[in-house]
Every structure is written in structure tokens, then in C-alpha cells.
């Protein structure tokens, strides 16, 4: 399960950009079962489940193999969309499969999880975002060079503070709504996203932004502070929704009516705004579309010529096939054109002449969360996870290369700091420590770091021979949770337990848990103290439980959330030591979004109770105020060097998404932006 892209959402880095917002960081972790879904849900799936998965940052992994057929479930092939085409894995017998024939008139995708809603205003799922994208474009996307590509509107700015949106002419809603103009977008932002009653998925994206119509096809947005990478945050990404459709709900402030409106749920207003027209959404079954002959990009002269005849299929469909074996079987026989492939079956499919497998790098990580709150380190007194050196020792005790080879079949990258290597903001290798590889891996090195940590603890932890012991002389015993049914995760958990046992003498038990239960009972809590406020909403008094001393300074939690309910003394219901249930998004397109994780002890996504040992807030501030991308990169290098040193989470790997396509399909790329040009995909 990955949080970070809510299933939908959000940043998009790697997810189909649906609606970005900080909401995505919170709340219910969505669970995507299967390594599969992770690449997805959602989906999710997926990587998903759960209530709204607006989390923005997790994923879970796992894939199973069953009797030579397949296993697990999961995978979503989240498929195309204007966003990135990141699929999950799937698995079934590849190899000598049948010789299916490809239906080149229908573009069909298999996914593992169905959609919660197709209402563009409320969707927060990546998989549903892809389903919507078949019939309704969003404002813009990014191509394989990470360049901004205007779809519905172009964005420009002089200073990063005032942004001008130029709406493309010739965009048409279905009858009776007429042409898309700037007023539709402005109305949507002002009356829906910025309202207190509508609770749309993009609410937080537009907070503090002043939007103003400046022409029939032009509007401006003024930010509270400059943001050079505003488009990359996907916050300004909007769907076109007719003003006339929204007006009755706005007048009545009818949230349920807006959420349940059939025109929105079935995208009946989509006009010429998407490559296909949605024919039917069969819940639990998928979606079916027919070609939109009037697709507006056919007339766009600022895009490659290949769009002139897009889309190239007469129809499209997204099939929900819950069983991985079924998804891969459908891919083999040509019933679908795309499905995710689990790492352990990639080689088989590479030997299949009718399928080609793409390896798409992802920004979602595999890491160990260590619980630094009072309900962590259950083995004894003095939570050792709070010491940077101890976290480094753990990172140094786990062989990243072996993990990648053994668990991810080499389809993953080592993970040292909070960015994947393909990020433009990845710091120079020499600037960051690389725990878990080369000389920085091994028992001796790890024990040395652990002993440094023992020296800082007021409790008498030590090594008794090969064994790490607590002040009473008993071996340190910890547990690590993984998602039930996720074989990859279980394997990873067992490998971690083995490495921590061999190299640090810790007795680690591996335990399976349902992702939703872990999220609700261990990872988050809704029962936390809140500050007192006056009628204007200003904080007037912060209770003592929400105050702690961090690096010698008193810090107040004035806006506690379910994912950071307060200082380390405020905890979720259940005790836990370590988890690998959730993976997190590292936001390579706009790393400033990572402030949600690391912007000081009060950062609003901080379930583990991490207190940065460096001035993270200042570094984020200076990055925020950068006036050029170079300045920004400079500021971020220091940040990521510090995070590599601190290991707030024990960073392990970035698994790739491995996606199978029918041979001859033109368009898919082995790039994070895979899927940006989906309408132009075609068979030769």
C-alpha cells in the first residue's frame, strides 16, 4: 500500500494526477493489496481499500504465486490517463501461453480494483482518475522530458506568485452547457473548491489562492507565496465542470446532491473534452467507452501531429479483474492490451513474443517505519528508535542489494535518501551516506553505530556477545508488521528480521495485519487533544499534552491531525515497533511537498513521531523562496543529505512498476511520465 498518491491523487508524482491536496496525506490509509496494486491502486490498490483513500502517501506490496499460476491479487494496472501510466503487478503464467490475437479496435486494460466514484469533484483514487481521464482531460500534464504540456489550459508566471491560465478555445461541454470558458474554472474554484460546504477533493489545493477571471478565456491565480513548481505539485490541476451544472447545488449548499449527481458520476457533460465518451460504468465490472470523434486535441496545433487523429481505437474499456491470474490470462489471450506484471514473472513474459514488458521507475518507496512515539519500542525502556545512530545502525544492518535481488528480482533501485534517482533534485552520490551497501553494510559497522546510540541512552543497552540486550540482560525483541496476504511484503519482513538478527542481534518477529486495521488502530488516531480556539478560529490555548521540547526548544502542536496527533506522548490505540505495511511517495517532481513529512516535529504526516535533528523548517523555507530551479535544487540537496543521514524512516528500495502490453502497441515508455499521451497510443 502506498500513501502518497492517494489513490488518486495527488501528487502526483507517479500517480495519475487527479486532485492533489494535503488531504491526501491524511486520514485513512488506503490499502492496496498486492504489490500489484501498489503500482497502481489502489487502487491501492489497489493499491486500496478503505474508505476514502485520500492519503497521499502509501502503498503496500506483495504478490503471491499460486501453483504455478499466479497469486496474490492485486495489481492494478492502473492504466492510462493523462497522468502517468503506472501499473501494478500481476501474475500468471506467462511463458508458453496461448497465442492470443489482439483486438486493435478496442483499447482494453485490466485493473484489480473497482472505483469508488467517477465524480471528478470528489474522486481521490488513482484508478478512478484513469477511468475519468478516458473521457475527461484535466488542465495539463507532463511529457517524458518532464516538460509542461498544456491540455485544457496553459499556465505562465513571471514571479511564481501570480499565475495566468489561458484556456484553450474550442472546448465544448455536452449540450446544453456550451463552450468551456474561464468562468467555468473560476466558478469551480471559488464556489466549490474554496467553499466550506462542498468538501471537494481539491479543497486544500486552493486554500489561500485568490482566483480572478481576467477574460473570456483567461483567469489568474495569486498565491500567498511564490511557488515555482506550482504546476508540478498538481495543485492547479482542474477538471472542466459546467458552471450551470453546479449552480443549483451551490445555491442549496447541497453536498450530498453534488456528490451523488448522475451527470457528474457518469460524465455526461464531457462533450469534446476527452478522447472517449463514457458509455457505462458497471460497478465492480469496469467502464466502457466509445471513441470521441470530436476530441479537441485533434485540432491542437501545439501538440505533436500524432494527436491529429487521436484516439486511434474505436472503443476503450477498463475491466476490473480481481484475480491476478485472470488479469494476466486476459493479457496473454489478447482480451486486454495492458496489465501489470509481478516481478517474479517478468522474465517469463519477456520470453513471450506477443507481450512486451516495460519497467517504469516509481517514486513510491519501501521503507521501515520505526515507532518513536511512547507506544513504540515495546521491548523495554528508552525508545532507541529516537536515536539517529540507532536508525543508521538498522539501515546499515540490512543488505539493500540482496533485498532487491531476492525480493524484487532486481526490479528495484536502492533507496538512500527521500528521492528516487531519476529526480532532478537527487543530490550528488558523494553528498549522502549510503547505508546498507558496500562498506556501510555489515555486522561490525552496524554494531558500531548501535553502540554509539547506546552511549546516548540513559538506559543500559549493550551487546552480550552477538546479542543485543536490554538493561535487564534480556535480548531485545521487536516486531514488524506487514500487510496480510502480501507475499512480497512478507518476504521483505522476513529478510529484515533475518538481517537485524544476524547483524544486530535483535530478535524480530514478523506479523501480518490487515492494512485498514493497522491504519486505524496503530498508524493513526482520532482521539487526540485539541487546542482551544476563539470564534475567529485562532488558537487561544494549547494543552500541555500538545507541547514538547524538541532540540532544546518548546514546540506546540497547534493543528494536530490523525497522522500527527501530537508529541510522542500522544499515541494511537495499539503499541507497535516497526511496519512495512505502507510505502510513501517521495514526490520527485515537486519535492517541496515532502514538507508534509519532514517540516519539523509538527509536520502533519508524522505517525512515527520523528523529530528532525536538523533545521528542516528552515531548509524547506529557503527552498520555498528560491527564485530559480537551480536555487531550489541547491536548497534541496542539503535537505536530502540530512534526511539520508537521519533515516527518519529506514529507507530500503524503490520498486519499479513492471507493466505488460500487447506487442505492437505504440506509446508506452519506460519513464515516470508513461501514459501522458495515452490518446495517441495505437497499434502499428
Amino acid at each position: 500500500m502506498w500513501i502518497g498518491c492517494t489513490d488518486s491523487t495527488a501528487d502526483h508524482d507517479g500517480c495519475n494526477p487527479v486532485q492533489s491536496n494535503y488531504l491526501n496525506f491524511l486520514v485513512s490509509a488506503f490499502i492496496v493489496y498486492g504489490m500489484s496494486q501498489r503500482h497502481n491502486d489502489g487502487g491501492s490498490n489497489g493499491r486500496r481499500l478503505g474508505r476514502r483513500q485520500w492519503l497521499s502517501m502509501l502503498g503496500v506490496g506483495g504478490a503471491t504465486a499460486l501453483a504455478g499460476c499466479s497469486g496474490g491479487d492485486g495489481g492494478d494496472g492502473s492504466d492510462g490517463g493523462t497522468g502517468n501510466e503506472t501499473d501494478g503487478d500481476d501474475g500468471m503464467d506467462g511463458g508458453d501461453g496461448g497465442d492470443g490475437s489482439t483486438d486493435t479496435s478496442t483499447y482494453s486494460t485490466a485493473v484489480s480494483a473497482s472505483f469508488t466514484t467517477l465524480n471528478p469533484i470528489y474522486n481521490t483514487e488513482n484508478g478512478a482518475g484513469n477511468a475519468i481521464a478516458r473521457a475527461l482531460d484535466q488542465g495539463y500534464t507532463f511529457d517524458e522530458d518532464n516538460e509542461y504540456v498544456p491540455l485544457l489550459y496553459d499556465m505562465s508566471t513571471e514571479d511564481g506568485e501570480v499565475w495566468t491560465f489561458e484556456v484553450r478555445e474550442g472546448l465544448q461541454f455536452s449540450d446544453p452547457y456550451g463552450e468551456v470558458t474561464a468562468s467555468d474554472f473560476v466558478y469551480l474554484v471559488q464556489e466549490i473548491h474554496q467553499s466550506s460546504w462542498a468538501k471537494s477533493a481539491a479543497t486544500t489545493s486552493w486554500q489561500g489562492v485568490t482566483v480572478e477571471e481576467t477574460g473570456e478565456y483567461e483567469f489568474q491565480a495569486t498565491l500567498e507565496s511564490p511557488q515555482l513548481l506550482w504546476p508540478e505539485s498538481f495543485d492547479p490541476l482542474l477538471y472542466p465542470i459546467p458552471q450551470a451544472l453546479l449552480e443549483p447545488f451551490v445555491a442549496e449548499q447541497d453536498t450530498d446532491g453534488l456528490r451523488q449527481n448522475e451527470e457528474l458520476l457518469e460524465l455526461q457533460f464531457s462533450g469534446n473534452l476527452g478522447p472517449y465518451v463514457l458509455d457505462e460504468w458497471q460497478r465492480d465490472g469496469g467502464t466502457q467507452y466509445t471513441r470521441n470523434d470530436d476530441y479537441y486535441l485533434q485540432n491542437a496545433d501545439d501538440l505533436p501531429d500524432v494527436f491529429n487523429e487521436a484516439p486511434y481505437f474505436d472503443s476503450a474499456e477498463i475491466q476490473v479483474l480481481g484475480e491476478q491470474a485472470s488479469r494476466l490470462g486476459a493479457l496473454e489471450t489478447g482480451e486486454v492490451d495492458q496489465a501489470a506484471i509481478p516481478p517474479e514473472r517478468v522474465e517469463e513474459y519477456r520470453n513471450n513474443d506477443e507481450i512486451h514488458v516495460n519497467r517504469v521507475p516509481q517514486p513510491y518507496n519501501e521503507k521501515i517505519s520505526v515507532n518513536m512515539r511512547d507506544n513504540g519500542w515495546t521491548t523495554g525502556p528508552g525508545n532507541m528508535f529516537r536515536h539517529k545512530e540507532f536508525r543508521q545502525a538498522m539501515a546499515a544492518a540490512i543488505d539493500k542489494q540482496s533485498l532487491i535481488q531476492g525480493v524484487f528480482r532486481d526490479f528495484a533501485e536502492t533507496h538512500f535518501t527521500w528521492q528516487p534517482r531519476f529526480s532532478n533534485f537527487y543530490p550528488p552520490e558523494e553528498d549522502i551516506p549510503q547505508f546498507g551497501v558496500g562498506d556501510s553494510y555489515g555486522s561490525e559497522f552496524a554494531r558500531g553505530l548501535a553502540e554509539e546510540a547506546f552511549g546516548q541512552s540513559e538506559y543500559d543497552y549493550s551487546f552480550d556477545g552477538e546479542t543485543m540486550v536490554d538493561p535487564d540482560g534480556n535480548q531485545v525483541q521487536l516486531s514488524i508488521y506487514h500487510s496480510a496476504g502480501q507475499e512480497t511484503e512478507q518476504l521483505m519482513g522476513e529478510f529484515i528480521a533475518q538481517e537485524l538478527g544476524n547483524n544486530l542481534g535483535i530478535d524480530v518477529s514478523v506479523e501480518a495485519i490487515d492494512g485498514t486495521r493497522f491504519n486505524n488502530e496503530y498508524w493513526t488516531t482520532t482521539e487526540f487533544p485539541t487546542p482551544e480556539r476563539n470564534d475567529d478560529g485562532e488558537v487561544t490555548n494549547v494543552p500541555d499534552e500538545l507541547v514538547d521540547t524538541v532540540n532544546g526548544e518548546e514546540v506546540e502542536w497547534t493543528a494536530p491531525t490523525a497522522t500527527n496527533p501530537g508529541p510522542r506522548n500522544v499515541t494511537a490505540n495499539e503499541d507497535w515497533d516497526m511496519e512495512i505495511v505502507f510505502g510513501l511517495n517521495t514526490y520527485p517532481r515537486n519535492p517541496l511537498t515532502n514538507s508534509a513529512f519532514f517540516d519539523g516535529a509538527t509536520a502533519f504526516y508524522n505517525p512515527v513521531g520523528y523529530y528532525p535533528g536538523f533545521n528542516a523548517e528552515e531548509l524547506f523555507d529557503s527552498a520555498q523562496q528560491a527564485s530559480s530551479e537551480e536555487e531550489l535544487a541547491d536548497a534541496l540537496v542539503e535537505l536530502f543529505a540530512n534526511l539520508a543521514e537521519e533515516q527518519p524512516y529506514i529507507m530500503l528500495a524503490f520498486p519499479d512498476s513492471t507493466v505488460g502490453y500487447r506487442e505492437g502497441l505504440q506509446g508506452p515508455i519506460e519513464n515516470f511520465s508513461n501514459g501522458w499521451n495515452l490518446p495517441a497510443w495505437r497499434y502499428e
Binding site: 469508488t116 466514484t117 468538501k199 460497478r283 489471450t333 491531525t561
Partner: protein, 324 residues
């Protein structure tokens, strides 16, 4: 008590039972935390608002600030008027979601049930008639094989063989296929086969053993002595008494005609039926939908119990209700 009064009393009792169940369900729901309120608090916190005030607003909006008995009356009224609310996980009314899922479930569960309740006793009686012959062993082996192999595994294997290798059936389920069409038969033949083999075993074995008792009974000897054909003898004099003890399960299975969904088979074959609906509703904590499907199962179970008792009298006239 006569039959009519007995039926009347049982129907009344069924109403009471369903009321008790819905009341317990209501109380459990009332005691459980409401996820919508949690979301409201979180959103308020994110926007710099007051979570406590947001919770209060949300409670008011959802009528949770009203006295328990008022909420209870509203709840009961909604249940019995089929106003079951909105499914958040599917974005459609609960009743529509249930009907839609039922439509697909029925397409495989009806043939599954009919084949099971007809083939099971037939194969059992045939097996008994040829007891300890190779025919008996084949039938018994078939029954045990179907009973022992997990449905989802069997389904995957069959899909692999007939879908992927031979390509005689589709892998994915096409919801747009007409109910009575060759396409639908092709896509449903495997799930029905898997389910029938899974459920036929128990029926077949019980009917085999039951019918063995009657083969050498006096009335069979008389029938044979009178020259009754073997087919008629088995159909009338063996099959009928055999079905009396079997009716307990058979009627249950008949009722399951529409709700006897199979989650795993639906997952493997991609059928958007009731099993997946219920499972997904639970996973996504879609309270309204969970409640709706629970109520359906509850009502069917209550009615099923009633029908089961009544069916005894039809099958075996010696059972009556005069003394009750």
C-alpha cells in the same frame, strides 16, 4: 393447531425475528464510530478549523444529535420502506447496488443450484443402484474430487487450460453479454461447472446412502414383483423418501438460488456479483451497503426457515401440524 394457524404463527414469528435482528444491527451501528465524522474532524484540522466544532456540525447534519429513539424509528422506517441509503463505495443507492449485483449473481447461481439439486440426488441414486461397481467408484471419486478441491484453485486451473491454452472460453467477464446468449453461456460455463462440482458431492453422498436403505425395502420388492420398470421404481419409490432428509439442505440451496454467491469464484472469473459486493463493502467500510446486504441475507434466512418446515409436509404426508 391446524396448518393455517401454524403458518400464521410462523410468519408472525418471522416478523419478530427480523425486527430483533434489525434492532440489534441499529444498536451496533449506533455504538460504532462514524467514519464521516472522523473525516470531518480531519478536514477541519487540515484547514486550520476547529475539529470539535466540525464534529458537532457533522453530527447535526447526520441527525446524530437526536435522541436514540427518534433515530431508531427513522431507521426502522427506512429499513421497511427500502430506503437503504447511498453506497459510498460504489456511488449509487444501496438497493440499486444490491439489485445490480443480484442480476449477475443470479445468472450463475440459478443454473448452479438447479444442476446441483437435480444432478446430486440423481447421481447418488445411480451410484447406490450400482453400488461397489466401477460406476459407483467413478461417481464417488468425482464427488470427492469436487468437494475436496478449492473452488478458486479449480477455477484458475480451468481458466488456464480452457481460457489461456485452448482459448475456448473468455478470461474476462463481459457484463454487456445478453443473459440468454451463447456468449453468456461460454463465459459462465466454467464458474457454473466449478460451483456444481464443489457442491454436488455432499448431496450425492447423502442421497446415495439414504437410497441404499430403500433399495431392498418391502415396497421396492413389491414394486419389482409387480413388474414396475426400474426407472419408475427408483423415481417413485427410492428417490422420494430419499429426498425427505435431503430437503433440509435442498430447500436451503434453493433459497440460495439468488443469494448463494461465491466470492472466490466471482473474483476469479471477474463476475460483479453479490459476493464481491458484500466483500468490498466490508473492506471499504461502506456501512450502508454492509447493512443492506446483511438485511437481504437476514430476510432470506428467516423466510427460508419458514419454507423449509412447510416443505416437509409436501414431501412426506406423514408429517403434519395437527399436534403443534
Amino acid at each position: 393447531m391446524g396448518f393455517g394457524k401454524y403458518v400464521g404463527a410462523r410468519v408472525l414469528w418471522a416478523v419478530v425475528v427480523s425486527l430483533i435482528i434489525t434492532t440489534v444491527t441499529f444498536l451496533l451501528l449506533a455504538a460504532a464510530p462514524n467514519p464521516a465524522i472522523r473525516e470531518a474532524a480531519t478536514q477541519a484540522a487540515l484547514q486550520g478549523g476547529d475539529p470539535a466544532a466540525a464534529v458537532e456540525r457533522e453530527r447535526e447534519l447526520r441527525g446524530l444529535n437526536q435522541p436514540l429513539y427518534v433515530r431508531y424509528m427513522d431507521f426502522i422506517q427506512s429499513v421497511y420502506t427500502l430506503d437503504w441509503g447511498w453506497s459510498e463505495s460504489r456511488s449509487q443507492p444501496v438497493t440499486e447496488a444490491l439489485l445490480q449485483a443480484l442480476y449477475y449473481t443470479a445468472q450463475y447461481s440459478i443454473p448452479w443450484t438447479i444442476l446441483t439439486i437435480t444432478l446430486g440426488p440423481l447421481v447418488g441414486v445411480y451410484s447406490a443402484a450400482n453400488m461397489y461397481s466401477w460406476r459407483d467408484h467413478v461417481a464417488t471419486g468425482f464427488a470427492f474430487f469436487g468437494y475436496a478441491i478449492p473452488n478458486f484453485f479449480f477455477g484458475i486451473i480451468l481458466l488456464l487450460i480452457f481460457g489461456v491454452w485452448f482459448e475456448v472460453v473468455p478470461i474476462s467477464y463481459d457484463t454487456s453479454a445478453a443473459v440468454f446468449s451463447l456468449q453468456n453461456v461460454r463465459q459462465l460455463i466454467l464458474p457454473v461447472f466449478v460451483l456444481v462440482t464443489g457442491s454436488i458431492g455432499a448431496t450425492m453422498r447423502v442421497s446415495r446412502n439414504e437410497s441404499a436403505e430403500f433399495q431392498n425395502s418391502d415396497f421396492m420388492k413389491t414394486a419389482k414383483a409387480k413388474g414396475v420398470s426400474p426407472l419408475r421404481a427408483y423415481a417413485y419409490h427410492v428417490m422420494r423418501p430419499t429426498l425427505v432428509p435431503l430437503s433440509t439442505t435442498l430447500v436451503g440451496q434453493l433459497l440460495a438460488l439468488f443469494i448463494g454467491s461465491s466470492l472466490l469464484v466471482e473474483v476469479v472469473f471477474g463476475i460483479p456479483g453479490l459476493g464481491r459486493l458484500t466483500f468490498n463493502a466490508l473492506l471499504s467500510q461502506d456501512t450502508n451497503l454492509v447493512l443492506g446486504s446483511t438485511l437481504v441475507f437476514t430476510f432470506v434466512a428467516v423466510v427460508g426457515n419458514l419454507l423449509e418446515d412447510l416443505v416437509f409436509t409436501v414431501l412426506d404426508p406423514r408429517i403434519n401440524y395437527d399436534d403443534r
